[in-house]
């Protein structure tokens, strides 16, 4: 991508400017604020005693030895929590998660007790002195088993009421299905009957985690009838609402403050440690900080493992006429936002294709594992892994070129996607052609000789941004005319502060550098649904634009009132001086944005307006496979994505590159190994993430020329888009190289080598 850096500080034309991040200096000098660094006077440290069994009834918890350790302030269990929060269950989708284990434990690592001490080492040591006895219960770990298992993780479903589309689940018993989303278009069985070919495959993805380098951290500071929480959170507004509910306080008595985040990727959404620290601080009457170790992060939240059974009917011409998708999401022991992942991803489970008959069943399942939530794609990467592997398998079986097969079936501009919503501003065809062209598709390709084989593959994808969601922003021109922006979007590295400042600058004809973006503080920053799902640039971007336009109109009105000629462009500070006789006054504008939305019909999922915008992406990969070891080297990784008009091309490029490299880890080697519910590689020593040596030799990152016509200045979000296609593009390249098809992630050497040996009718043994 061409990244043109315009001269800094230039007014006007702020959109499309590759401005370095506003907080760059703080970050390179080590002085950026993170909650990780925060200490409050009198603060205690809380360390967590965790369950060692996956499913069990708590018979006893013995804290007596821990209490005797010098320096221990107090040891807390759920009985203590209930004295300050009588009903201590929380969660965005379901009120199913207790602040500490209550009668039962449901996964290994579930918090059971907390030691408070001034010295974190003392607290840690005292945790070792706690013992608990459990009556172990049978556990269920696999999402398919959970569908029919008689082991129930919860006795009864408890939807939170936050999301209207979950209310119908209230009171359901004897089930692990937390949500079943259905989409029905046409008659899929009729389509299969008419098809010339029917293909059915099953794909799986593994359990992986976000592993943000700033581990989960929250500090509670509860006073009488008011509580402040300092937290590394992607959604301060939701945290406030949930803490207010738990404590029975109005929202204006709950203050959530968020510094920069040392990474989020979806892990720090909704509510994590915040309810715990609020309760601990209420009990201790002192500020309490809970800061997890990296190991503990493996027991907080992960990505959803997923099993996807996909069946397609194709006619004689290679047109897909029917597709049935059964998707099983392994949500772990508590729902977190899993039911929403299940539903919202379900809209596009059939892929970026124009298919007459579509049938989607998407199930959120409880299991006895670490809870699962959103991870940079809200389920889409798991779906694309499956449907784009499936696409190539069909093309191969039909002896059709994979690009030609996609061309024949792709959703064209204006066509109706499976939900019935037209696909606009979603340049799928252009993306496919761009990837094909970059790969020199159709030209002869050297597949290598000897043991190392070469191959190439591609994939395309679509996502409907989650909807409907609301953002509010306030812009304040201070007495000297310098602007302060109040918005709840959390800058966790995606560069939102910089992008929002650019939008203000564009409207007010000011350099973006002159805009101060206030750190998130719910006492002053207005409501925002959350920094998630690539929604912020579009939704908050609009709110910021509207706020800035209101300010602009008020400045013009003030100038008129003061007798300035139209278009005179007198600086705001001078207008204020003229008006108030001194450096004084403010002009405040606010903006609220909530897009139109038509809820999908229950039972069919049909709607003509499922989302305000589509996210579309494609990837191409070239690989070398060492057929003697199974080692796969990705030599070239191409991502072409649509983000409308890039507000900041350099930051967009970094987002594309960073997102695909993160997904590259999930594709090639990352995996949580689990034995009896216990994660056996819960550390960075044993759970490997991409390092600088893993980066493919050639990476090409392109934001395709595009405009999101209803977006702020033609823009939309891009945080997740480049995660979608990396996995299947590489798996498709592996098959092109050496003829083996891998249906389960990751694509590590062992998996590939086993597949090669199986193909040679010489399979390896189990160990």
């Amino acid at each position: 991508m061409a990244t043109t850096t315009m001269p800094g500080g230039k007014a006007g034309s702020q959109i499309g400017r590759s401005l370095p991040r506003l907080e760059g200096r703080e970050k390179v000098s080590g002085r950026a604020e993170y909650t990780h660094n925060l200490r409050l006077p009198g603060m205690l440290h809380g360390k967590i005693f965790r369950s060692t069994v996956a499913h069990g009834r708590i018979k006893s918890i013995d804290t007596s030895a821990a209490k005797k350790i010098p320096g221990v302030f107090r040891v807390i269990t759920i009985d203590d929590i209930k004295t300050v929060i009588p009903h201590p269950y929380y969660g965005p989708a379901f009120h199913d998660q207790p602040i500490l284990a209550d009668e039962k434990v449901r996964f290994v690592g579930e918090p059971v007790a907390v030691v408070l001490a001034t010295d974190p080492h003392v607290a840690e040591q005292a945790v070792q002195a706690i013992t608990a006895e459990y009556e172990e219960l049978p556990a269920v770990y696999d999402e398919i088993e959970a569908m029919t298992s008689k082991v129930y993780v919860h006795d009864e479903l408890k939807p939170a009421g936050t999301f209207a589309d979950l209310k119908h689940l209230t009171g359901r018993k004897q089930t692990n299905v937390a949500l079943d989303f259905k989409l029905r278009k046409g008659d899929v069985e009729k389509g299969f009957a008419e098809a010339a070919h029917v293909f059915e495959h099953t794909f799986r993805t593994q359990k992986v985690l976000h592993l943000a380098f700033e581990p989960f951290v929250s500090i509670g500071d509860a006073k009488r009838d008011a509580v402040t929480i300092y937290t590394a959170s992607q959604g301060p507004s939701f945290v406030r609402t949930e803490i207010a509910r738990l404590l029975g306080l109005p929202e204006n008595r709950v203050r959530i403050r968020v510094a920069y985040l040392g990474g989020g990727y979806g892990s720090k959404l909704y509510i994590k440690l915040e309810a715990l620290v609020a309760a601990l601080s209420l009990l201790a009457r002192r500020p309490v900080k809970v800061s997890l170790t990296m190991e503990e992060c493996f027991y907080q939240i992960t990505k959803h493992p997923c099993t996807f059974k996909i069946k397609s009917g194709v006619d004689r011409d290679g047109k897909i006429i029917a597709r049935k998708c059964e998707v099983f999401w392994n949500g772990g022991a508590y729902a977190d936002v899993g039911p929403r992942v299940t539903q919202k991803s379900g809209f596009t489970a059939s892929g970026p294709y124009d298919i007459e008959h579509v049938h989607v069943d998407s199930y959120a399942l409880y299991t006895n594992l670490t809870p699962a939530g959103a991870l940079r794609g809200f389920g889409i990467p798991q779906l694309v892994w499956s449907y784009e592997s499936h696409t190539d398998m069909i093309a191969r079986a039909l002896k059709m070129d994979p690009v030609e097969f996609r061309r024949k079936n792709i959703l064209k501009a204006g066509a109706k996607q499976a939900t019935g919503t037209p696909v606009n501003d979603a340049p799928l065809e252009a993306i496919l052609e761009r990837i094909a062209s970059r790969l020199n598709w159709g030209k002869p390709y050297d597949h290598g000789s000897g043991a190392v084989k070469r191959g190439r593959g591609l994939a395309i994808a679509i996502k409907a941004v989650i909807s409907p969601t609301t953002s509010v922003a306030v812009l304040n021109m201070t007495a000297d005319g310098s602007p302060i922006l109040y918005c709840g979007t959390v800058d966790m590295g995606q560069g939102s502060d910089t992008a929002m400042a650019q939008i203000v600058g564009e409207v007010l004809n000011l350099p973006a550098e002159s805009v101060r973006v206030v750190p998130r503080d719910t006492d002053v920053t207005p409501y925002d649904m959350g920094t998630l799902g690539s929604r912020s640039l579009f939704h908050m971007g609009h709110a910021v634009r509207i706020a800035a336009e209101e300010v602009k109109a008020k400045i013009a009105a003030l100038a008129r009132e003061l007798g300035e000629p139209e278009g005179s462009n007198v600086p705001v500070g001078e207008l204020f001086k003229k008006k108030y006789g001194m450096q004084a006054g403010n002009i405040v504008g606010s903006g609220t944005y909530k897009p139109d939305y038509i809820p999908p019909q229950p039972g069919t999922g049909m709607t003509t307006n499922v989302a305000p915008f589509w996210m579309t992406a494609g990837a191409g990969a070239e690989v070398e496979v060492d057929t003697e070891t199974g080692k796969v080297t990705c030599t070239r990784l191409i991502n072409v994505v649509d983000c409308g008009k890039p507000v900041n091309p350099k930051i967009v490029e970094t987002q594309i590159s960073g997102a695909t490299l993160m997904q590259f880890g999930f594709t090639m080697f990352e995996k949580m190994h689990i034995d009896g519910g216990q994660v056996t590689n819960a550390s960075l020593a044993d759970y490997k993430i991409p390092g600088i040596l893993d980066v493919p030799a050639v990476m090409e990152n392109e934001a395709i020329d595009s405009i999101q016509s209803n977006g702020p200045f033609g823009a939309k979000g891009v945080g997740e888009t480049a995660t979608f296609c990396c996995g299947p593009a590489i798996a498709n390249a592996i098959e092109d190289a050496c003829g083996v098809r891998i249906t389960e992630l990751p694509l590590n050497a062992e998996t590939v080598f086993r597949a090669i040996r199986a193909q040679q009718n010489n399979p390896l043994g189990d160990e």
Binding site: E26, V28, S29, Y34, F213, S657
Partner: protein, 160 residues
Amino acid sequence: MAARTISFTLNGEPVSAEIAPHHTILEVIRNEFALYGARESCGQGLCGCCTVIVNGTAVSGCLYLAAFADGAAVTTVESLDASGALDPVQEAFIEQGAFQCGFCTPGFILMTKQLLDRHPDPDDDTIKHWLSGNLCRCAAYPEIIQAVKSAARKRAAARS
């Protein structure tokens, strides 16, 4: 546990601190001297977020016991812009957009300085070798490599 007092220089200033045997240098510089540029992430010396310089060599502050720093010269990222101006490596990281969340960035910057002190004009393989002990979950690696090269050019220009 017996406390003891250690004396060392911290970013050029002589300092002393009362420590327990299990305290790491990372805890001491954060808790006693409010220097937060080095931070603990993996806690195993694998990610590089806790990098500090002891007697001229980069160490993992989360594993380096404070007792061993007695009499040593300890340098942190906060020393780099003590003059008020950023170090060329810091400038290059900003200009190349070589970070997103910034949590790992001080570690990368300190390691890059070590690299450029020994290899003023490193090639890609040398850069990757030297920075393979620092991890970035936002995966800004391509930009980091560009930033290292840009910093090398800045330093060369400053010398000539």
